[in-house]
Amino acid sequence: VNDSIDFLRENGTTIVFFAVLFEQMGLPIPCTPWLLAAGALAHSGRPSLLAVVGLGALGAALGHLGWFFAGRRWGYGVLRFLCRISIEPDTCVQRTQGTFDRFGGGALVAAPFIPGLTTIAPPLAGLSGMPLWRYLALDALGDLLWASTFVGLGYAFGDQVTWALRVALRYGSSVLGVALGLFGLWMLFKLLQRARVRRKLHVDRIRPAELKEMLGRPSPPLVLDLRHRRELVEDPHTLPGALQVSPSELPSRHKEIPRDRELILFCS
């Protein structure tokens, strides 16, 4: 155990840098425990508190930067890809766009604290045309706050974190097993939740071929385009006869929807 602790003292900053870099790039590698552990070990002066915070923030910023440029280069294709591989693709694009619109650049500062948003906010900033200097400033601020928070928590609760670290190192495989078990349960819960929502909507989905045929009828359905305005600017096309409505305003305008026509909704 002591050898392992010494190894972490010697290599804590490097481990933190790469763990943060890979996690913020979107890989399923938890970096928070490393930030906490490095913060706790920094109590003794090794590794340096400033170095851990600095390299943690740098790793996060570098991890995000690739996504920013990807968003700038490939636009909504990147966002759709990220949302497709996310656990909640049905709400992903709309929710992240809503958060970004509500908080603007502030969403970038808060993003590292919000799971999911941390990977999606940089490409969203890139595709929205945010200037690079502004993006770098806001993202760096968020990353610095985020790294300081977790390293600071580790530093503040150094004794407790060190105790937990020793337990984890002594009973490493058991602790890992419990952690993986909890992660598996969480994944199962999210998948069941998604399956439940899909089951509710399953019978109600319309296939593109059926809609195409219906649009040729004398009384076609009412088609509502729920995509974000920004996305429409990128690809200024829509389905024939579709009306563009914001998803947030639709429930409040439900009385305007004619009951005698079928309503078809679509987004990206």
Binding site: P220, T238, P247, P251, L265, S268
Partner: protein
Amino acid sequence: VALQLKRRGIHRVRPLEGGYAAWTLLGYPVVPWEDARQALGAPLSVPA
């Protein structure tokens, strides 16, 4: 959104499977957004 509308009594509502991406992937017709832009702010009961 579809669930919200159903809760409000609009039962004849269906989301498009695969969304806009699936529609364009199949090569189905799209129109310039200018046409849709004119409908912005218009009552939802405007005939399509």
